[in-house]
Point group: D2
């Protein structure tokens, strides 16, 4: 049977196409600097938003009209798997991602939950044999069920810590079974609601203990996926311990975990933390910690994680600039941790939204690549910092100076020649590249 | 003498030009729907940011390197006038705007201040005789001098109210003298710092009294410019009475001033109030109150009025969509209430920044015009609301129904057919129009 | 049977009490300026948060452990009614508030929904006969069911408008039946998600049409409750039409509804709109539009409506200052539109939270009353504005001056004597009153 | 001569006093847990806000009426020193803090600036001989002069780096000369405006190089003050590298500087970064990095650093809770990095504001001390986490378990007993302690 009868295979038709179910800019086979767009961008569909999500919001019931809405329990879970592979194939997307309970229903009994997971994982494994799609990453949901109300690895209750360990143990086994290239930790409830009742020191120590045990277990079973922390500042928990990349980095260094983890950076989490998306990417990049990306966008006039599909071409261009400079994402990818708006409730919207996001990243990629090829920013930066390649600047960089010599140098200066940062000109240049990359086809 | 020797006449050279001092998209003579871009966009230079501003910020001294920095007092004021007309002409911009003390130094003596203004106004009038540039609007600065520390028309001190009246009286006379097409009221200190010491009711009444007297005086002297209120929520005063368009509208209606005023809408003020720029434009438009625009952009990750030059093409497109739907701005225009970033300190940056902004609005205009011509949004909206053009919907609109009839209708419904809002598809469409408008040249 | 066995009658025991289930500051019989606290504060319990709410959040399932969790449908609805009256009585709270579907389950069939409502309303009416508690207000939920996904009275679908009319018609009938003192309109989905698909002008006109029909119907059935609009800016809808009090006021004036409505002001909605709670109260008060209060608090470091129980004594003091200055709330009251935090999941927390809120408002009342009695702020304000009671200031207020006379006055001034606003001293005074009101018992 | 004739010696007069120039709660000699309040709180006056500040804001000229306003240059600098010691003594405050150019005028010539500093430092040293007041910390201003427009140690210009080194070299010498107990680094322009022109990696490396050279030079001259980094997220620079405590910690660990520095935590910087003040204090405390405090408060409805005097008793209580738990601040103190509001322009306001702040911290100290003595929070926390003191929890903490054992434990659980976090009860408890600490005197 077909779950998405309205839509046939989505193909690249070029920018002149008026087919709403065609790519206008994303051509998976087009080469960017020697790599196909498919290989470079490594798009992934988020199972939770696209198949499990129901279109609820804090003030409203689910609106999503889905062909499996009449089912429940394992029947529903299986129908979703079937639908998902039809979707992956119609969209021709190379990866997907899931939390354990996105794919298999959670029971109040842990053993039953694990059994449900095993059954669905076997079904997914069968699909993977004949499908082109691969598992970018999986993870364990440790935030939805009431048991996690005070956290998982940072819960004040050791039984909960143990329960979380059992879930992640299974998650690592599933990742290995399905060939996941990464394993993600998002600590949605790892944080605190109020300091009045919180032992922050113990909670952080416990979180580190948990991560070390996870690392040991992955090694034990030979699961060599990249571990990723996904920072987020303040939702659902008032304060989450992995606030942003820098906070995560402080934690990883303190607990000697910096070689075990990289970051999975989400655009909307960046803006909730007060940063741009590109800031978080750059911070991870200069620290060698850029692992993967949750590709979405937020609404900076709203104060929560809206998880919108990414359509802002400035954002996709500057993100791809960092990713291209990082020589790609390695085992990571661009996962659409994004949901259709609640009023976009039919299944066509699922296609429209993914196409919008993939085209937006394709456009960003091409603009960023031309910026890099033309050395537009590189030349400006090189010139701006060139004083560090000679004289006193080189001495500074090479560690050959001290406050005595620097003071002497400073006292000898008759004039200081600062140069304009040219922010306005650079922004106009970005606009020009955005339009002209496509005008000159 | 020339103040801006680096730069010659700025001309339209087309998108292929790599001359940083040329327009790439703004062609003043190009016709958009029968009007030249120059007539339609009515760009204005803000005197305060471009000639009076020194590049300070709350933590730093002025950085702006300007050819008249060595001067002071009336000599400085006159040099700035000379420079400004050279700038207007090199930029080929049709309008400018100023506050009284942008152009003439404020003295502690009111009579001397008024004399200074008269002297400079005479000089400007001379320039206007031979220049193509015109005065879009002027206004009185009633927020910089320490005397305004508690407000002007809303000050707790009646002497200050009187002083403000004298300033606005002169402002109206100057506007008439120089042929200003509008007169602006921005109440930077018309608000309160803390309710603990504030009589909000009296202050609002006084503000209305002030506006009525201004209206009467303008009528008396035959100055028929459009009066404009410029809303802003919370800077420099903790709460300003003209928070946003809706707040201004409530005030104007209450005090029977709604026929006297329209709004001067600033993009960055919109976002500080929690709205998009286009929201404020639409709100004014549907109430027949869209007067003029302070064209800039803010940084929604920062919490103050950054007054950046507008380069975001989404913002310029959606703003121009509202303006084109409004059949232009009438006597208003697009005033760059925008300043170069503090590290963009040389005079070249003044040109780069204005060119960036004018090109961005030219691009936005062309994209918006094509959206309108192709009825992309209009058709979608017409279809979405078509239930109000027939049957029970038409009865609602025509006032022919009541709760009895509506309940009966509702009870008779077997099914309700909502349709998707298609936000993701519409956003992808905007991206396509943004790129294809220029690709298909 | 008892639903809350842990808790006996909650009584005032005074500040020395260490009984967590006793009032320490709220003494319902204590007179404040001639009125008992019970009569003055008119506390109400929100049915939705306290009985219907399940402790979900956007990332988590319900955590609330409630004695009726095993029930469903009408059985659940009836158990909740029983529990609610036990709760009201144990808490000794004089009012409650509800949305239609808080008390009766919503069906996909309108007639069945209305039947459910009738059945539960009859049951509530029985309880009311013997209970001291009264209905402060009721309202219709037009935001939870998927049918409202594009709005109710502002939906693009006329069938939805009719459906909303049927719901409000029933709501007005229920209000009359149960003796509600007010009727509330909160437009959670009356707004837009994106201007790209929205006809703002038509939507606002329709909203006004709806309100006029509601007014006519209430008159027809002789329901003379106060109509209240509850402003909220941006959740769940990206932009809501009743953004804040000022925006509501602009709307009501435009559509000639200002005599029909007052405002129900919620603290957390105020801060989401960028205002303090007291700002919204003052704005309503000076316009004669202060109707009722949703007493809660937000977290200004989070960007959504957290609906916390009010415990901030600054907020309760400044709110009660406005309310006392307004000579109380008339037919309105202080409704705890507040929910226990998700990790506060047991029924004891429901008592702790309400006691915390009632004590906090009792404290605020006593501090505010002493500030008023001692004329601490009144004297400061009177002195600050005294220039408007004489000379030129009095002329301004009495409309006896113009810009000519004011300019002459301004030119005659040799010195301007502004006085410090003394914000720091006033804040220290508030602290002193906060502590000393209770120290001097 | 006297600079502050209106005000005599400020003394503790108790809460009944109505003398606006008396402490009502701060009694320097009162013992808190064995230490006098003076020793425990170590209050400091910020030279910049109180003596150098002029009451400007981005839209307004200085309003501050000061007895030395008629002076300029070194005369002004000397008068300010005289006034400051009169102020310190009248206020009986034990510490002060300054930036180099707060006390001595900056010249365009570095050697002249250094000479000015030396001259004023000699004058201050003389005062210190006979005064009780001491220097809590000094620092170098590397953000006001235009030369710093792109940063200091992170400037793209090596000459600027050298200039900064000369300034800090002198700062360290001055600190040693005056017996400063700490030396502060606040990187107001150490960050970036736009990534488009920024080499973040080089800038961060250079910042670390600078800190290592500073450390070496302090050691060389035998200046053993505690080095402090003061984090701040986004003003004046769009993004500052020391965003918050966690970000600073990541940086210090990466560059092996964690033993050289602690943090100087400012309340308003915390909230600008999206944290509470107590969050930043707790984060520093659990990492052993709590050095000193800039005691002020922000306005979370405004988006910039308002640097208000601290009067919020919740904030002072929770801050003092962390400080008392930290066994005080060691060589640090509570520095009022706070300015009177611009409309609080006379010298009396300087006294009112400091008294308000000192009383607020004295109140917070007493409330926090009682919370600690009564173990109100400690007992709750101990009970909440007690599962980690036995059985599987103890195994986790002691590193004696792994995912196998934890899974086995989890599978064996028949029920999970989470307990309510009791946030509402705890908040009511804080209110009770706030009032009852002073009621029971
Ligand atoms: Co994500
Ligand atoms: Co997200
Ligand atoms: Co403006
Ligand atoms: Co502005
Ligand atoms: Co409410
Ligand atoms: Co709310
Ligand atoms: Co500070
Ligand atoms: Co600050």
């Amino acid at each position: 049977m077909s779950y998405f009868k309205n839509v046939q295979q989505v193909k690249f038709e070029g920018s002149q196409s008026s087919n709403p179910f065609a790519y206008k800019y994303y051509n998976p086979e087009e080469k960017i600097n020697g790599k196909s767009m498919e290989e470079l961008l490594r798009f992934a569909v988020s199972y939770w938003h696209t198949f499990t999500g129901e279109g609820t919001d804090p003030f409203g019931a689910g609106t999503a009209v889905r062909p499996y809405n009449h089912l429940s329990g394992m029947d529903l879970a299986k129908a979703r798997v079937e639908a998902s592979f039809e979707f992956f194939e119609k969209l021709d997307v190379p990866f997907f991602c899931f939390h354990d309970i996105d794919v298999a229903p959670e029971s109040d009994s842990l053993s039953e939950t694990l059994k449900n997971i095993d059954e669905i994982v076997a079904m997914i494994k069968d699909y993977l044999k004949t499908s082109k799609v691969k598992l970018l990453w999986n993870t364990a949901n440790m935030f939805t069920h009431p048991r996690w109300l005070h956290g998982a690895a940072t819960a004040p209750n050791a039984d909960i810590f143990a329960y979380a360990a059992a879930k992640v143990k299974k998650g690592l086994e599933v990742g290995k079974e399905l060939g996941a290239e990464n394993y993600v930790f998002w600590g949605g409830r790892e944080g605190y609601e109020t300091l009045l009742n919180t032992d922050m020191g113990l909670e952080l120590d416990n979180l580190a203990r948990f991560f070390h045990m996870a690392k040991d277990y992955a090694k034990e079973i030979g699961f060599d996926a990249q571990f990723l922390i996904e920072p987020k500042p303040k939702e659902p928990t008032k304060h989450q311990y992995d606030f942003d990349v820098a906070t995560g980095l402080a934690f990883l260094q303190k607990y000697d975990l910096q070689d075990t983890f990289k970051f999975n950076i989400e655009a909307n989490h960046a803006t909730l933390a007060g940063h741009t998306f590109e800031h978080e990417l750059r911070t991870a990049r200069v620290n060698g910690m850029l692992g993967s990306v949750d590709a979405n966008q937020g609404d900076t006039l709203l104060g929560w994680d809206t998880d919108e599909f990414p359509t802002d071409l400035y954002s996709t261009t500057l993100a791809m600039y960092e990713i291209l400079k990082n020589d790609g994402l390695g085992s990571g990818g661009l996962n659409f941790d994004a949901k259709v708006r609640r009023p976009s409730f039919d299944t066509d919207d699922l296609f429209h939204a993914h196409i919008a996001g993939m085209d937006a990243f394709a456009i960003g990629t091409k603009v960023a690549q031309r910026l890099i090829e033309d050395k537009v920013l590189d030349d400006f930066v090189a010139d701006r910092y060139k004083s560090y390649t000679e004289g006193i600047g080189l001495d500074i960089v090479e560690g050959k100076t001290d406050f005595h010599k620097l003071e002497k140098h400073a006292l000898s200066l008759t004039e200081i020649n600062n140069k304009s940062g040219r922010q306005e000109l650079l922004k106009a240049t970005i606009n020009k590249y955005l339009l002209e990359t496509f005008a000159q086809k």
